[in-house]
Symmetry: C2
Subunit: 336 residues, 2 copies
């Protein structure tokens, strides 16, 4: 590949790694605590300047303290333009206040002051391996980081999920950065930390930060293809029309089969009296977030995605000169 | 075996099946709801008298509604003699009030009016299969039911756990009945229902009720041996002395290995910085409740048990005449 086909992108000077956005998703909670401890030790030892500033954030300390997903409302749905900028009443939920604090710390969302990259750490009860979840299927930074992790961690099943939502409507903490993604790892019960899941997250974060350092120091990353799973729709549990209680669980033939193609007519649910409910869609799709604990209240038993092959270009960091030219209004290869 | 070696025990006229004692352990919640629905249908169809009265109980409706283990305090620790009979203040936790209601409904604990058998349904995040947990290693009723389930469900790993606690100090709902045990099934994340775990519980309860009907109608159950795991001690996570936060997770080599003998020197924990912490006990013991979600706050990372082989005698129900004789104070083979 020729050098002139390389897309030049701005330097990633400030990266945020966030845990505890959901207070009972414990890998991120304990990993950020551990990284804070290690950072303290390193700082005590040497005064060297890091080539990238890494902010470690514990997003929802009150929910962490209670080991619950949230206290008043789901923090990771509070980062829409409307919620961040709407009027504040006296009875505003704790998480809405906390969302504005985090937006002030890591954003403001959509502004030039926002951190360059947010990696928000999550766990799921679904058998999803390690997933990147992002709002873009053409954010070359996120896609290149994903590809780097895939290569560095070949034993961990890894997928890139795309939620096709506009920047204004995007609701999660990672949407506050210039680039951002959730790193979602499972299966792990909420309120529990499993060593293998914790270690996968730790290694994943280390490779992510390594990639940022390589990128900032001028490494050219070759282009190629990435499989992207774009969310198409959610499916709710069968429910009792009066009580709204669920009347079935995920079918044993579907449970734990995240990202295995679901065909029309395949078993979807098993009712509590023993009958099978089948998938009535007309198109085979990829199920994910199968039986995620926190989604019972959101009316989601599983989500379905379409897979596509995305070509990503080679990239490298924009040099100081290119940066200046860009700031003075000269043509640049890439718009931010 | 000779007929005169058969131990005669009183009829089991009233049996309680309880779910939702912990509001986020969903197999029991949905199973009891389903049994209540089925019971309603059967009652509508026929007027036949059941040979055993089965009470279906949803123990902690408030916690169920919030999908939490409990609202104020752990209901399943409220059934000690002291808690049930102590003074009541104005600020008494919800679960203490509910415990008295349940004791009035199914007990009073220790009295002749108490139901004959309580089966309380639980889930665990630990890989424990189906366990009976009881306060006695010589309750022939519980042990025979356990043996019946073992034979009827050969594909489900099944163990009998004994907590050596006096009747007065026994704290769980099942201690309210004349006989009682918790049926604990895992692994299942709290707040999630997995179809395979739900079905194992449903089939287990059906076999338990079948056994009671057989017993009441005069079937002789042959004696034999049962492996009983008697709890010896709990082990807590390594913790930070200042924050009291855990500093390690269950070691990957121990995770999911419930009831696999743990030897001195075996890996126990992996710290969040990557070191291995080993088991320092002097005696090999059987670990269980490894990484149970609800026990982080109780300071229990796992429990350890000693296994023994218990001989249980043949049993049959005491006939009407024997019952009368017993009530008039004549000698009987067995004391209750």
């Amino acid at each position: 590949m020729e050098v002139d086909e390389v897309v030049c992108l701005p330097r990633l000077s400030r990266v945020a790694v966030c845990g505890g956005t959901h207070g009972n998703e414990l890998s991120g909670v304990y990993l950020v605590r551990e990284l804070l401890k290690e950072e303290k030790k390193v700082k005590e030892k040497e005064d060297e300047e890091e080539p990238v500033a890494v902010l470690m954030v514990l997003s929802n300390p009150r929910a962490m303290q209670q080991c619950r997903r949230y206290v008043d409302t789901d923090l990771n749905r509070c980062f829409t333009h409307a919620t961040l900028n709407g009027p504040m009443s006296d009875t505003v939920p704790y998480e809405m206040i906390r969302a504005r604090e985090l937006n002030a710390m890591l954003g403001p969302k959509g502004s030039p002051e926002a951190v360059d990259l947010v990696c928000d750490l999550h766990n799921t009860t679904a058998n999803m391996g390690l997933c990147f979840i992002a709002y873009s299927d053409c954010d070359w930074i996120c896609l290149h980081i994903f590809r780097h992790l895939q290569r560095q961690m070949p034993d961990i099943p890894m997928r890139y999920i795309h939620f096709d939502v506009s920047s204004k409507e995007s609701y999660s903490l990672d949407s506050v950065g210039k680039h951002g993604f959730a790193m979602e790892i499972g299966p792990q019960p909420h309120g529990v930390v499993r060593s293998n899941i914790y270690t996968a997250m730790k290694v994943g974060v280390q490779h992510m930060l390594d990639w940022v350092r390589f990128f900032n120091s001028g490494t050219i990353f070759e282009g190629g293809f990435v499989d992207v799973f774009t969310m198409v729709k959610h499916i709710d549990y069968p429910r009792d029309s009066e009580t709204h209680n669920i009347t079935a669980a995920i079918h044993p033939q579907l449970q734990d089969r995240d990202f295995c193609l679901l065909h029309p007519g395949d078993a979807l649910f098993q009712t509590f009296s023993g009958e099978t409910v089948r998938y009535k869609g007309s198109e085979p799709l990829y199920p994910f977030f199968i039986n995620e604990c926190a989604y019972y209240e959101k009316g989601i038993a599983l989500s379905l995605a379409r897979k596509k092959h995305v070509m990503i270009p080679s990239i490298r960091v924009r040099t100081g000169q290119e940066q200046e030219a860009n700031e003075q209004g000269f043509a640049s290869e890439e718009e931010e």
